[in-house]
Structures are given as C-alpha cells and as structure tokens.
C-alpha cells in the first residue's frame, strides 16, 4: 500500500494512493460540494461543482475523480474555485426547476449565487411524462447528472431502456424514438428513481398524492393488470 502525502487548504494529509481529492479532503474535515457524483455510480466529472485548484495545474480538476499526487498543494476555496462554483450554480438555477433539490438550494445559498443572474435564459420547460404506472418523468427538473442512464445500463441493471437525446444545452434523457416506457426494455426496477437528485423522476403514487388525489384514486390509477410475458410487444 503506497501512502501519498499532500496539503489541502494548508492541512497536511496522508492517504492511500488512488484516493480521490474529494475523499482526501473529507479526511481533513473539508466537504467538497457535488451534484452529479454518487458513490455507487461511475464518476464522470460532469457538474464540475467539485473543482479545486491545484498549484501548478492550469485547469481546475474535479475533486470527485482526480486522484491524489505526492506533494500536491490543493486549495478548495480559492477565488477561481468560488467563481466557477457560483457561476455553475447560477447557470443551473437559470435552467431547471430546482425546487425539489434541497441540497442544490443549500449550495446556492452557501455560494451566494444570484438565481436570476441570466435574464435571457431559455429554461428547460418540458411537459411531465406520465406513461406508466410506476413513475413519472419531469425533465424540467433534470440536471443531466447521468445517474439514471448509468444505473439503467452498466452501473446496475443492464436494461438499457434510456439514453440521451439531443445535444449540448438541448440534451435530455429519452427512450428509443421517444417510445413510452412500457414499450421499451424498462423492467420498472425503480433504480433510476432512487438515484435522481432533483425529483425529476418520482414514484407515480407520490406524484399523484402531490396532485391532490385521494389514496383510493391513486390505487385505481396505478394498479397494474397481471399479464403474461407474451401479451407485451
């Protein structure tokens, strides 16, 4: 086991080689913010909220997937870092409905992000997709953390029911030719709902309850007929 020693915000810390900067910072008592990172999903370094400044590096590396190097001098709250984090949060607030993302709300306050920084912003406003008895998809709340796509694929279920549509700002999560979920390979395992950080994916019953339906109406609306496999397709 190789031990690597580095300095994070002036505190020296020794960790195993292969440890990420985020884990190393945690050992010094420093929690680095992140949106997309999840312990059980492949880290892709998407949200960049966890960027830190490392002396000698031109760019700000994402702490979630960057591993420690001997002698590194890491700054988790430099001016550059704060500017990037605040701007990323402001961009997000101008894009999606974060009302059910309490963690991101906390970050917005913590970094004093102006929720109305971008007056010209075209927001992601999409109708709620209610096409199956198990869960709804409200992509106006989607921050494109990729977790649902990953747990549906190699990170967990190997179902491959969902992937990306569009590109760039107009990227979204979708099915093959936007088919309704029951027509896809989805097995309704619910893992995507479990890892969604913003309420974009939600159990249908919870959603119906929020819509003001009574429990028996909800039961009626979400009950599934038992059927044999050959009946599908």
């Amino acid at each position: 086991m190789t031990i690597v020693t580095l300095t994070i915000d002036g505190k020296q810390v020794s960790v195993e080689a292969g440890t990420t900067l985020m884990q190393a910072a945690r050992q010094t008592g420093q929690e680095i913010p992140t949106i997309c990172y999840h312990d059980h999903c492949t880290g892709n370094g998407l949200c960049r909220l966890c960027v830190v400044e490392v002396e000698g590096m031109r760019l700000l590396p994402p702490a979630c997937i960057t591993t420690v190097q001997e002698g590194q001098q890491v700054h988790t709250s430099s001016e550059k870092v704060i500017r990037s984090r605040r701007t990323i949060l402001e961009m997000l607030a101008s894009t999606v409905d974060l009302s059910e993302a309490p963690e991101i709300q906390t970050f917005l306050d913590e970094y004093q992000a102006d929720r109305d920084r971008f007056p010209d912003a075209e927001r992601r406003e999409l109708p709620v997709i209610d096409d199956n008895p198990m869960y709804i998809r409200d992509y106006s709340k989607c921050v494109l953390c990729w977790r649902c796509v990953q747990v549906c694929a190699e990170d967990a279920q190997y179902t491959f029911a969902i992937n990306f549509t569009g590109r760039g700002y107009h990227s979204m999560i979708g099915t093959f030719f936007d088919q309704p979920m029951p027509a896809t390979t989805c097995v309704f395992c619910g893992q995507c709902v479990g890892v969604c950080p913003t309420g974009a994916l939600k159990p249908k019953r919870e959603w119906l309850l929020e819509q003001g339906l009574a429990p028996d109406e909800i039961f009626e609306a979400t009950k599934t007929k038992k059927r044999r496999r050959d009946d599908r397709a």
Binding site: L49, R83, V143, T165, R167, S171, F177, T185
Partner: protein, 600 residues
Amino acid sequence: MSQSELIPLQLILNEYKQIGRSGLLPALLAAQKQFGFLSPSISAEIGRTLGVPLAEVYGVIEFYSMLTTNPDGKTSVQVCCDAICALQGADRVFEALQQHCEVSSDDGGHHADYHVERVACLGLCNHAPAVKVGEIAVGKADPGNPETVFLAEDKPLIDHVDGSLRILTPNCCRPEATSLDEYRHDGGYEGLTKALSMAPSEVLAEFNAAGLSGMPPTEVIAEVNAAGLLGRGGAAFPAGAKWEGVSKAPGDIKYVVCNADESEPGSFKDRFLLEMDPHRTLEGLIIAAYAVGAKTGYIYIRGEYHRALAEVKTAVEAARQAGLIGKNIMGSGFDFEVEIRQGAGAYICGEETALFESIEGKRGFPRIKPPYPTTHGLFGRPTVINNVETLCNLPFIITTGSENYRKIGTARSTGPKLFCVSGDVQRPGLYEVPFGITLRELLFDLAGGIRKGHKLKTVLLGGAAGSFAVEKDLDVRLSFEDLRAAGLSLGSGAVMVLDDSRDLRDVLRRVTHFFADESCGKCYPCQIGTQRQFEIMNRVAGGTVLPGDAGRLADLGWTMTDASLCGLGQTAGLAVLSALEQFPELFSPAQTDSSEQKGI
C-alpha cells in the same frame, strides 16, 4: 419492416456485422443514404444486428447533426452562416435560397426537392459565401441568382494557394487530386521507403537480425523528436513525444488515427490537403504506424467533407494496389491496414477522445483525461492521433532529415505552417510559410492587404476558439511561443480578418452560436455556459446591452475556461474574453446603438 427495405439494409449490415458496434455510425450513414432518413424500424434492425441497445442507437442518431429521422426525403441545402461567410452576405444567400425553394416548381423554384438550413462553417471560407447542395460544395453563392447554386457541377473548388514554401502544398495547385503516379513522380513515398529500407548499415544489421529491414522504428521516432514537430491541430503537442509514449506503452495492439475532422470555423487547410494531395497524409500515417508498431490505422474525415472523403478512398485503394498498404509493405515485413471513417456532423469529434468514441459507435462525448490516448486510446489501446497537417510534415522530415527541417521556422516552432487566411483581405486563401513570419507579412505582403477602401480592425486568430489580434500585434511573429507570450494563440492556423466596417458584436454572436450549437452537453460549464453566452451576445448584437453583461460574460467565460472537461469548453469563451479586453466598449450599456454597421 417491408422486404423492399430489409434487403438493401441487410446488404449494408453484412458489411458491418463483423465489427459490431464500431460499425454503427457507418451503417447509419449508409442506411440514411439508401432510404433518405432513419426510421424506427431501420434503426432497430441496425441496433439488433450490431448489438447496440436501441436507446443508445437513438442516442447516437440524436447526437450527429447529419443523421435525420425526418422522412420528408428532401435534399438539404446547407448555407454557412458563420462569421466569414456572413461578411460576404450569407444571410442574404440564405433568405434568397429559402424564398427560391418556396416558389412553386412551375415558376422555376425547387420547393419540392430541397430544404434550406443554416449551418456552421463548411471549411470553404475562401469561397465565401459557401453553400452545399447535397454533397456538392458551391462557392461564391449569389443571393441575386439563387437558382445558380443548383446548377453547380461537382468539381473541386480551386483554392488560392500561396506563400514562400511548397513543402506541404507542392501538389495543391493542380486542377484535380494528385494521383499516386503523380505523387510518386515528385518524390512521394520516398519517406516511407527510406523508413522501411534505407537505415544506416550499423543499426540495420541488428534490425535485420530481428527479421525486419529498414530504419528501426525507434530511429524514426528519434528523427521526429529531433525535428521538433509540434501538432498542427491546435494543441501544439510534440508529435515525437506522443509517438514515443505509444511505442513504449504495453500491449500488442496499437492504433494510429488521422484526425481529419476539421471543423474549426475559419479553417480549411486539412480539407484542401486531402482533396488535392491525399497521398501525403497517407504516407505520413503509414510512417507513424511503422514507428509505433500499429497494424491498423483510421482516417476520420469530417462528414461534410464529401470530396475529401472520396479522394482519400481513391488514394487508399491505389496505395493498396501498389503494395503501400497491406501485408509486408515493400518487403519490409511490416503490415498495415487503413480504415476510413466519415464523421456525421459534430465539431466535438475533432477532440481526440470524442473522435475515438465516435469510431467506437458512440455519442461523441470527450473522455476524462488521464488516462491519455498514448496508453488508453481507441478501443482502450495505445493510440497515436495526429492532425492531417502534422502527418503531412513526416515524409519531408524523413527524406531530408531533422536537421534540415529545423532550419525552417523558429527554434521552438519548427517547420512549415499552413495559414487559412479569410475575410477582408485582397487574396483569401491557403498560405504555406515558415513559422516566425509576422502577421503583417502574412496579411499585407502575401494576402495583399485589407480590401480596398478599408482599414484593418482586428484579426480573429485561431478560429472561433481563438482571440482577437489588433494593430499592435501585427509585428508579433507567428510561432507558438511568440503568440503565447503576446496572449494570443495560433490554434489550427485560422486567420479571420475583419476590417473597420465590420460589426464585432455580430461576429461574436455567430461565434457564440457556433459553440452553443456544438457543445456536446457532457459537462455543465460548457453545456449551459455556451448557451448563456450566446443568449447574451444575441441580445447585445441586437443592440441591447444591460448593466452587468460584461461581468456575466467574464464569469461564464472564465468558468468555461477553468472548469470545463475538454478543449471545446475550455476555449469556447476565449473570443468573448478577448473582446472584453480589446473592445470593452462593445459591452458598455451606454453604447447600445447598433446602427454602427449593419452592412451584412
């Protein structure tokens, strides 16, 4: 799916079945060519045959702008509306063509057959305003006579090639692509021959003992290292170091890839090199493969470059017939095969790892680095990836030696360089010069100076991902080190010249639109930042500057620069950041008058 669909589709799929997912993009392109669009049933059949989950097939179709699920069957008329073509009236061309296509066929219009769309730079900046009708490139489109673009013949657009050197471009002044015979007649493939068979005798003996003949690969790498060849794709990474890394990387399977996905607005050098002299790139690629021990190479050509694609296909076939590709090349014992891949409309695929993903049949998302391509490249194997122009330097380096090569250029930027000069100069075109000449020499001595009756305002150096050079920068030497010191960048060599009549806000609107359109959407800073940057510039170009715009743009620009995942995002804010510094008045709320110059 009907039988009439299934049979031709199966013929297409038979060709790609063996390579599985890596055949996805070529299969989709071929199917689209056959059927006009990609229907759910055709896409599903392709996915099932190649073993790709259907949701991912759709994800790929959605990523590439040339792939369509629209069944209207119309041929697309693509009008470049990026900065340089816009200077020459691209917007008027677009409107005229749109009107023309709306007119009924009886009145001489083309309404039933075409749909007109605005697209990003087509790499035809020296023929601005440029249009593509289907696969045919048309230069100098006339908004007064839109019907003429439909009459254009499918022949090469002759570029203006000039400059003080002819090392990379000796064959670029012919009316048609240089054939294998013509290329060989003028010394072509001598570099490869030398690498494979003319090594110094003392090393040769040892090398022959290993069952091979020629210059040992390590000697070839040493020669390229000694030449100081820096990558010409924009990042200026030493080619020799890349090769050495791949050569030393563990593993038996290695790849070489030629990056011909040139899509930087203002850049057209690679298109021209491939259209006019495809064998030079090919020779460079074979030399690279020999040096690092790769048996397979890929040439990934931008989807919109149909002519370049056709010429490279012809060249590879001719080289194969002549025994320059294949088994036991020139009796050396070295085997090498080349596969050609067509892109499908995504600027991001010029980023090396996104290009690998694309060859592997995926959306062109750039990968996290490290690991680097030298150890984990295409299909996870050690891979050399070089730009077209970089590869074109190799035959010369090997034949004349690194010492002679170093005599050209500056101490740290060695060799010849191609500059794509476009915009408001007398003679836009491709210029081959040694590194180290000044911008003044390039623009005024070679390109004939600014168009009549105007003065230089600024030069967007390095393309959309570049920065603005002004009068005071004219005497900076064009080398990687001098430009870096001056706070500028060379990029891939795009030199977009703007005179004093031009509206810089409009130029920035188009530049920022380009990035918003081309961001892959993977990391947040670029995914959202490029869109917000464009929205602000769009408003500003329309004449409304709000208090705080400069601050918004600076925060967006720096956040993209510092925190984006790949080179696209890291450079998407450069032009705006540079304008904030050079032309702060553009962003001052007091100056909301846009009447200044709406002359485009």
